[in-house]
Symmetry: C2
Subunit: 401 residues, 2 copies
C-alpha cells in the first residue's frame, strides 16, 4: 500500500523521529523539513541583521495576509478572505461578537453541546460580557430544529474533536441561512486534512487552528475567514493598529482597514507566522483532495484492522464507520483508556487520551504511512492482550495530555 | 566612557550587525545571543522529536506563567501577578473590559490624548462594543482634573511613544485611586529600560510589549499584570481553555483559573514565548537599576552633543530635558525629518521617523555604547550640514517604518 501511495513523497517534507508512530498530528502537527532553516534565517538574518528594516524589506508587514492567502485554497476560500492572527479563541471571540452585531435584534448563539470546550467558553464569555445573549448548546441531532428567528449565529466545529465525526457543513450552513442566521465554522480539526468549501457552501465566518494539520508548531497563530460579501459591514471588537486602515499614520481615531485585514488587532507574531507558512506550504503542495483520499484510506485501514484484531471485544470504535462522515481521526473507547495510552506511548506509538475513556488516533495524511497503521494496531493488540496496561510502570507515568 | 561602563559586558549578550548604530530598540529590540540556539533546540528537538509530549516534558504548558514571572522583577510585580499572552492590543482589550466590570456604575475611560494610537483604538472598540461607555482622551496636563466619580479606569502609557516623556505613574495612580477609579498602565516603552514599581505604586492593571526593550523578536507575545488583590474578582471577557481552571478536563462550562492564569485565552505561542524568555533573561541579568543609570547617561550625552553640534539651529529636542522625566528615547523635530531619517539609515545609523516631523532615537541600554551616541550625532551633523538629505537618492528611498 505504501509502494502504491501517490503521496508517499510528502513524508520527506517532514522530519519525524525514528522509531515513533505519531498519531497525534490532530493535536500538534509534525515538524516540516523546511521550518528549522526558515526560522534560522528569519532570526539570524532578518531580525538579527535587518532589524527594524525587515518589516518592509522582508515583507513582515503583510505576512499575516500572505499566509492567510496560502491557507485559503485548502478551505475553499478566496485569498482575500483569510488572515492569520492571534489564537483560535481570540479569533472566535472577534467573529462571534461581530456576528451578533450583523444580526442585531437576534440574541441567540446556537452551538453543539459537544463542541470543543474552548468554543463553548468563548461563546459563554461573549454572552457574559454583552448581556442579554443566550448560548444554546444543543445535542447535535436537534440543532436544525433549534434554528429560528431568534438565532443570530450557528457556531459549530466541522469535525468533532472527540469522535472525529464530520458534520455536514453545507446542509447546516443552509439551515442557518434559512433561519436568517449566520454560519460560523471552527475548522481546527479539518483544515489541511478534510476538504472544506467555504465559498461553495456559503459559509459566513470561520476560524481555524495553525498547529494541527497545518503543522505551524506549538501554539502557532490561528486563522480567520470572513466571506467577502460581509467584510465591509463586519465590526470586530478588538481594535488595534494592524486592523487600522493606515496603521503608520498614527491617527487618534480607529478606522477599520478594507477587507479581511480588519480582523487583525496587534502586531503580528512574525516567528509563528513564518513557521506556519512552512507548514501550510508542505500541505498545500500535496493538495487537499489527494490528502483526503489518503486520509480515508488510512482510517479505513485502521478500522478494518481493529475489527480484525478485536472484533468488538472490549474495543469500541466511537468514530463514524462511514468514512464520508469521519474526519482524519478514529477514536476508541476503553475503560482503561488512560493506562492503555500510556503503554502505547512507552512503545513509541503516540495517540492521545481524552477523559474519561477515549483514545484518539489522528491520521495526518501528509506524513503517515500505511505501515504506521499496521504498527499501531499491532502495538495496541500487544498492550491489550498481554494486559501490559495493568503494569505499575505504565500507571505511574506522568500524564501526557 | 565605554571603558568605565559597568554594563559594557551586556552588549555581548546580543548579536548586532557590524557597522550599524541601532537606535530603534524602542521599536524592535536586537537579537539576544542565546535566542538562535534556543529556538533551534525548541524546534528541532522539543517539537521535532518530542512532539506532543513536550507540552509536559519541556514545560510548555507553564511557559507563559514562567516568562511572566521572569518579567515581574523588571516591573516591580510579584511573580504571580504577570503572565505572557496574546498581543498588547488583545491584553489591553481584556483588562480594560475587566476594569469596567470591576467599577460597575462608572462608565468613563479616561486616557491621554497623546496615548499610543492602538491604546486609543482598543478603548474605542471596547466602548463601541459595550455601548454607554465614554472614552475621554484628555490633554496630558489636564488628566488629573478629569478624574471624578464617573471614571472607571485611567488608562495611560508610562512613556510617550513620540516624545519619550516619562509620566509620573505613582502620582497619577494615586490620583485615579482618590477618584475611586482603577489605574491601568501600558508599559510598552518602559519595561526593560525604565524602573517600574507596580506594586509600590499600587497599580491595578498593566500591559506591555515583548518586542521592544525586552527583545522578544518581531511580534513577540505581550504581557499583562493584574494586582494580586484584584485577581479573584477579575473577569476578562475572552474565555479560552488556557484560562480555565482545569483545561484538560474539557468540561463544557467555563470556570476561570485562580490567579493570573485566567488572563490567558487560547493555546500559548510557544515559539514566541521561548524567544521572549531569552530576551528577558538578557535584560534581567543586567538589572533594571543599572540599565536605567546607563540609559540616562546615554540620553544625557545625546542631548549634550546635539546642543554642542546644533545649538538650537533647526534641531528641536522635543523630549524632556530633565532626565527624570524622560524614558530611554530622545526625539527631535525637523521639517525634513523623513528625508533626514532616510539619509541616516543609508549611513548605517537607524533611528525611526514618526509623521509629520519627528525623528526618534531609542537608546536600549543593554547593548548600546557611548561611542554609538557620538557616531549617531556625527552622522546627523554630516547629513544636516552637508544637506545630504536633499539628495534625490535619499528622497527616492522606500519608506522605512
Amino acid at each position: 500500500m505504501d509502494a502504491a501511495d501517490e503521496l508517499a513523497w510528502c513524508r520527506d517534507e517532514f522530519r519525524l523521529p525514528e522509531g515513533i508512530v505519531y498519531l497525534d498530528g490532530n493535536s500538534l502537527g509534525a515538524l516540516p523539513r523546511r521550518t528549522p532553516e526558515r526560522l534560522r534565517r528569519l532570526v539570524e538574518e532578518e531580525w538579527g541583521r535587518g532589524l527594524i528594516r525587515s518589516w518592509n524589506t522582508e515583507g513582515w508587514v503583510d505576512l499575516a495576509l500572505r499566509v492567510g492567502a496560502a491557507i485559503a485554497p485548502l478551505i475553499g476560500a478566496g485569498g482575500d478572505e483569510v488572515v492569520v492572527a492571534d489564537s483560535t479563541s481570540v479569533n472566535l471571540f472577534k467573529v462571534l461578537a461581530a456576528a451578533l452585531r450583523l444580526r442585531r435584534g437576534r440574541r441567540e448563539i446556537v452551538t453543539d453541546a459537544d463542541n470543543f470546550p474552548t468554543d463553548l467558553y468563548v461563546a459563554q464569555g461573549v454572552a457574559d460580557l454583552l448581556g442579554g445573549v443566550e448560548v444554546r448548546a444543543i445535542p447535535r441531532a436537534r440543532i436544525e430544529e433549534a434554528l429560528d428567528e431568534h438565532v443570530a449565529v450557528l457556531m459549530l466545529s466541522h469535525v468533532d474533536f472527540r469522535t472525529g465525526e464530520l458534520l455536514d457543513a453545507a446542509a447546516l450552513t443552509e439551515a442557518a441561512h434559512r433561519a436568517g442566521a449566520l454560519a460560523l465554522w471552527d475548522l481546527a480539526h479539518s483544515a489541511g486534512a478534510v476538504p472544506v468549501r467555504l465559498d461553495d457552501w456559503g459559509v459566513d465566518l470561520a476560524v481555524g487552528c495553525g498547529y494541527k494539520y497545518l503543522n505551524g508548531g506549538p501554539g502557532a497563530p490561528a486563522f480567520a475567514f470572513v466571506a467577502r460579501r460581509l467584510q465591509s459591514d463586519l465590526r470586530q471588537p478588538v481594535w488595534g493598529w494592524f486592523g487600522h486602515r493606515a496603521p503608520f499614520d498614527f491617527s487618534p481615531r480607529y478606522l477599520p482597514a478594507d477587507g479581511i485585514a480588519r480582523l487583525q488587532s496587534g502586531t503580528p507574531p512574525v516567528l509563528g507566522l513564518a513557521a506556519l507558512e512552512c507548514g501550510v506550504e508542505a500541505v498545500a503542495r500535496a493538495g487537499i483532495e489527494p490528502l483526503r483520499l489518503k486520509s480515508v484510506n488510512l482510517t479505513e485501514l485502521f478500522v478494518a484492522l481493529l475489527d480484525q484484531e478485536f472484533g468488538g471485544r472490549g474495543m469500541e470504535v466511537v468514530s463514524p464507520r462511514d468514512a464520508r462522515r469521519r474526519g482524519s481521526q478514529v477514536s476508541i473507547r476503553h475503560a482503561e483508556g488512560y493506562a492503555i495510552t500510556q503503554a502505547l506511548i512507552a512503545r513509541g506509538v503516540i495517540p492521545d487520551f481524552r477523559a474519561p475513556d477515549l483514545i484518539r488516533f489522528g491520521f495526518a495524511p501528509a506524513y503517515l504511512r500505511h505501515v504506521d497503521v499496521f504498527d499501531a494496531v499491532a502495538a495496541l493488540a500487544e498492550v491489550v492482550w498481554t494486559e501490559a496496561w495493568r503494569r505499575p510502570e505504565f500507571l505511574r507515568r506522568a500524564r501526557v495530555t
